[in-house]
Symmetry: C2
Subunit: 363 residues, 2 copies
């Protein structure tokens, strides 16, 4: 293998790709990146077996070939070199890299030991705008579970419902759901949230079109020159829609800023109680009031004006409320409550495609 | 105790003071801040017994008194409250704090249990400009030792030498020395570097004048409304000047940028060798060349043009070189070397008041 590539292109590709290479894998070669010529281009790829990221860049290729080299060293090295052309030559799994007054020799591992990059069969495709995919992922990803004991909850469920594409994630304590106006008849994918975190990180320019291809086992996101292939999670996603109330006895509408402020202050006194705070919605005073008590430290009451219908008292985890509020765009927030133990639903007139549900704490 | 204070003033004071309160101390009250009226002002103070920070702010005081409350909770609470007036009332070591729609009650500890704030006796004073003190501390603090086995090396030695005030710090592997043009006849202080880190953090506006008062046991830095009192370290600082060569057989002058670049790249291949890199200064090629070898990973050579006098080869810890280069202001750097095992002295024509010395690694 012998080629010339610019530091700028190789640096960009390594930045996009090498994060998924992990030195903690039981298969040591997975801490390497694959560098491989494909006709007139250079392919840079890394995988952790759940997800594979590949980028193609232009290069002047004098001799075809492939090698794998340690991902972290390679990325640190290329990012430290000055901009300009790099000459790369590989002999006997040793990569020699020359750039002006810099000369490096890196011991690699044969590309034959690297797992084959996954491919899709009989795949279907949809197109999404970067902006809507970014919003949807940012609004739901944090609600997915990290507990491998229930694998389906570690994924984001993406499916078609009438003329909307729905993104849903839940850890069983809270649920986030986002709808975007895209038609993809029959689409139903359960994608690991870790993989989607990687996709979210790669989304940059809002004007990009993202292509999502999928078959029974995998999905591929094409973002500019970068391809992310992820396995799908097997299993049936819980029928969460059944749990969502369609009407509410009590609602309170107020500014996001005011609710954030009183929740933050209250949470400081809720550390002993694992974050639990008690919210009272008061139709007579037209206010929402939060009380938190820490026997050691003290107690706090904070209230904010709200447009209220009905009365209610409910105990929620303050961290979940803060997470939810940070996910909403726009200025106004509405809290919707039935009984003390029924799901609390948070909505916003300014962001009608997003719904957030928090299960109450028994108090 | 009963008073009114603004959120803005109390927030600023807590931010400056409460960092030294530590929840890891064996004396639990040291995780609290002292809040105490003194005539028409409010005093906020915290200490870890090595260092005490005190700030005085304006307040409308209706009734004198004092209390201590948990520093972290108090700071988090005040920073989360909206700007505006706060009403504070203390009865039976319970502080009640009212701010508009917020009401908090915090369990405190009697101010009698808080250690007395240290005072100086027969002290002398000097004045320094914020800018020169900040530069001096930023350039020497990182070279002080964190190893309590040799307490004198955990301090910064500040002393008068002719018409200069000298700041010196060393961990015995490297030494940093800064001179500033201040006359303070007879001054000789050995101050814990941890305390000076706190002072550095508090330096803001360049136009401030800092007053340093000192006696045999303590030094007090007055920065605006904030006072920092620190203990001094007992013991004799090593006579490091004796170890500094006054002339050099080999010198190499180059840009800081070029030396940073080749050192960074070389350090990537020096991880196995605990950062050791071998620098060759070559008078014939007029270059400085760094070689680093990692048996597992590979090897690297990088060079940069330099104005060279004499030849030399010396092995140094790359992290120390990077630290030193980041401490120099200005564009040009000069490396000064005698024998392979003699101290390597780094200087800069653009920053003539700063000297950095690195002891070579035996290779």
């Amino acid at each position: 293998m012998k080629l010339q590539v610019t530091q700028e292109n190789l640096h960009k590709a390594l930045t996009n790709v090498s994060r998924v290479a992990s030195s903690r894998s039981s298969l040591p070669v997975l801490s390497n990146v694959l560098i491989k010529t494909s006709d007139k281009r250079l392919t840079i790829a890394a995988t952790n077996l759940d997800i594979a990221v590949t980028e193609h860049i232009g290069a002047k290729i004098a001799q075809q070939g492939a090698i794998t080299v340690p991902a972290r060293l390679m990325q640190d090295l290329i990012s430290s070199l000055p901009a300009g052309p790099l000459d790369i030559e590989v002999t006997d799994n040793k990569m020699v890299l020359e750039a002006g007054r810099f000369s490096s020799s890196i011991n690699g591992v044969s590309a034959d030991e690297f797992p084959a990059m996954p491919t899709l069969t009989n795949s279907q495709e949809i197109n999404l705008e970067t902006g809507s995919l970014r919003d949807a992922l940012a609004q739901v990803l944090f609600a997915a579970s990290s507990d491998e004991a229930r694998p389906v909850l570690t994924g984001v469920y993406i499916y078609q419902n009438n003329d909307k594409l729905v993104f849903a994630a839940t850890d069983s304590y809270r649920l986030a759901e986002k709808e975007i106006p895209v038609n993809a008849a029959g689409l139903s994918l359960l994608i690991p949230s870790q993989s989607l975190q990687e996709v979210l990180r790669l989304l940059k320019d809002d004007s990009q079109q993202i292509i999502i291809a999928y078959d029974e086992q995998q999905a591929r996101f094409t973002i500019d020159e970068t391809e992310v292939v992820t396995r799908l999670i097997e299993g049936t996603y819980p029928d969460y829609k059944r749990l969502l109330p369609s009407s509410f006895e009590t609602t309170a509408k107020l500014t996001k800023k005011a609710l954030l402020e009183i929740t933050k202050v209250s949470s400081l006194f809720a550390r002993e109680a694992a974050g639990s705070i008690t919210i009272s919605i008061d139709a007579i005073k037209n206010e929402i009031r939060i009380k938190s008590i820490a026997s050691q430290v003290g107690e706090n009451t904070a209230s904010a004006e709200a447009e209220v219908t009905g009365d209610a008292t409910i105990t929620l985890n303050s961290r979940y409320i803060l997470d939810a509020l940070n996910a909403f765009s726009g200025e106004s927030i509405q809290i919707n409550v039935n009984g003390k133990l029924d799901p609390c639903v948070i909505t916003s007139a300014d962001d009608p495609t997003y719904t957030h549900v928090i299960m109450p704490v028994k108090s």
